[in-house]
């Protein structure tokens, strides 16, 4: 789901900061309010985990890439606002050190993967798990559904962002950036994720949560969300 520089207009990429930067500000403020010394290594560990998951990616012709992110899992374990910061950090390191996702596209990639994905995935998880006490099996199913929904909604957002590029930016009659229309980019991104990567994201969320429940139940109990 990483958008490289040159695939969208710099104006569009940086302009997405209008949404991303305020969300970052809220997330950092919320995080600082709840941050304790021992929480920092956990967040960095989760960020490294997200980084490792995103490194295993496959190119999608007429789209971008397909891969798991772990955003919903992080939102359940550490909280949705922490997930915004944690996944953003992983994306910054990927863009800087591995050229995966553009530098100017950092606000746009963070919007899709670090804002939309964990917030949507967590919202779906909470809705699906509503009424179920912590520690119940239903919460694992809800986590899987949340993970699946989060990544699929994020992929839909990427498809729309790519698809509107030919409508907004053209030079000499040709698309200046992504050449694919909405009717091409949206189905490609939805199918590649809805039939593939989103299932991996669901599995990561369920297995990760089951693992945390078994080995670090204290961490989850302190949040009361799993």
């Amino acid at each position: 789901v990483h958008i490289p520089d040159g695939y969208t207009s710099p104006l569009f990429s940086l302009g997405s900061g209008v949404v991303t930067v305020p969300v970052w500000s809220i997330a950092v403020a919320r995080l600082q309010r709840t941050l304790r010394g021992r929480t920092v290594p956990l967040l960095a560990f989760l960020s490294a985990l997200s980084f490792a998951l995103m490194m295993v990616s496959f190119p999608v012709p007429a789209g971008t890439t397909a891969h798991a992110v772990g955003g919903t899992f992080i939102a359940i374990v550490a909280g949705p606002w922490a997930a915004v910061v944690v996944v953003s950090v992983a994306l910054v390191i990927q863009a800087l050190f591995f050229g995966d996702g553009g530098i100017l596209a950092i606000p746009l990639n963070c919007l899709n993967l670090a804002v939309i994905l964990p917030l949507a995935g967590y919202a779906v998880y909470r809705l699906t798990a509503a009424g179920s006490p912590p520690g119940r099996r239903r919460r694992l199913w809800a986590a899987g559904i949340g993970g699946y929904a989060g990544l699929t909604i994020s992929a839909l957002a990427v498809g729309v962002e790519l698809g509107i590029q030919p409508l907004l930016f053209r030079s000499g009659g040709l698309p200046t950036y992504s050449p694919y229309t909405l009717m091409q980019a949206v189905p490609v991104m939805l199918l590649s994720h809805g039939l593939g990567a989103s299932f991996v994201e669901a599995a990561v969320t369920v297995l990760g949560l089951a693992y945390m429940r078994r080995l670090y139940p204290g961490l989850l109990a302190s949040r009361g969300s799993a």
Binding site: V40, P41, A44, A48, V89, P179
Partner: protein, 267 residues
């Protein structure tokens, strides 16, 4: 995995190239960050292949002046790009308008390779290449601590920089742990194991890796606290913009303006 871990460790984590005496290594990190942003922004706005190629030539000259190993620099950028950016753009080659290089009828579908689309695809791949080259050059010639400090100077929140600095260490730990586990397994296996056995081993080692990394992350944090870490990034270098830094930023602005002007003229 051992190859990837080794080359990444040499290239990034040891900061081998960032410690060399070179043009970019000698500049203030904040100046470098500004130059980098100006150059990436310029590449993003360019739509002419020749001007983009010219900008790439300037990047290569900067890499040479900074004494980065040329083959490594070029290989690192151009080995991944055809696989990702290339595959992504391939369908567009058959969606463009005339003139067409050839047209192939496959039942109800006609595949026609469009010349304007080939040109657009080349511009796209070149733009991605220049952007990635600039990012690689910035990282290769700047110490991580200096980069973090300059982010702090750009008013990026402390908590963000702190998590960024620790994640960077953990990525390094992950690579080491995975490499160590694979080496340990390889040195104890004789013959070929079954697919089921390998899958069980992989599932078990993922759980084990998470467990080890989790404990190790707490240990690293304890060690950082023991050394007096309070969350503030400190480096030996005190940032001070000198005449050479201002000249470099000015030169970068001139190159960017010239590239944008040439791009508009040649449109």
């Amino acid at each position: 995995v051992a190859g990837i871990a080794g080359s990444t460790e040499r290239a990034i984590f040891t900061e081998e190239h960032a410690r060399r005496a070179g043009w970019l290594q000698g500049l203030d990190p904040r100046a470098k960050l500004v130059m980098f942003l100006v150059a990436v922004l310029t590449a993003g706005f360019l739509t002419n292949l020749a001007v983009l190629a010219g900008l790439y030539a300037v990047v290569l000259v900067a890499a040479r002046a900074s004494r980065t190993p040329f083959d490594f620099f070029i290989r690192r950028v151009w080995t991944g790009i055809p696989f990702f950016a290339g595959v992504v753009i391939v369908p567009s080659l058959f969606l463009g308008g005339p003139p067409h290089l050839f047209s192939l009828r496959l039942g109800p579908v006609t595949l026609a390779l469009s010349v304007p689309a080939i040109w657009s695809a080349l511009v796209f791949v070149m733009r991605v290449g220049v952007s990635v080259s600039l990012a690689v050059l910035l990282v290769m010639t700047t110490r991580w601590a200096d980069l973090l400090k300059s982010l702090h100077a750009l008013r990026v929140p402390q908590v963000f920089v702190l998590i960024l600095s620790m994640t960077y260490r953990y990525v390094f730990l992950f690579l080491h742990a995975v490499n160590g586990m694979l080496e340990a397994r390889r040195s104890r296996i004789v013959g070929v194991t079954s697919g089921g056995e390998q899958r069980r081993w992989i599932a078990g080692s993922i759980g084990c890796l998470m467990n080890r990394s989790f404990h190790l992350s707490s240990d690293v944090h304890s060690a950082m606290l023991a050394r007096g870490f309070t969350g503030e990034v400190r480096t030996y270098h005190r940032f001070a913009m000198r005449a050479a830094d201002w000249i470099a930023v000015g030169g970068c602005a001139v190159v960017a303006a010239a590239a944008l002007a040439a791009g508009m003229l040649l449109r």
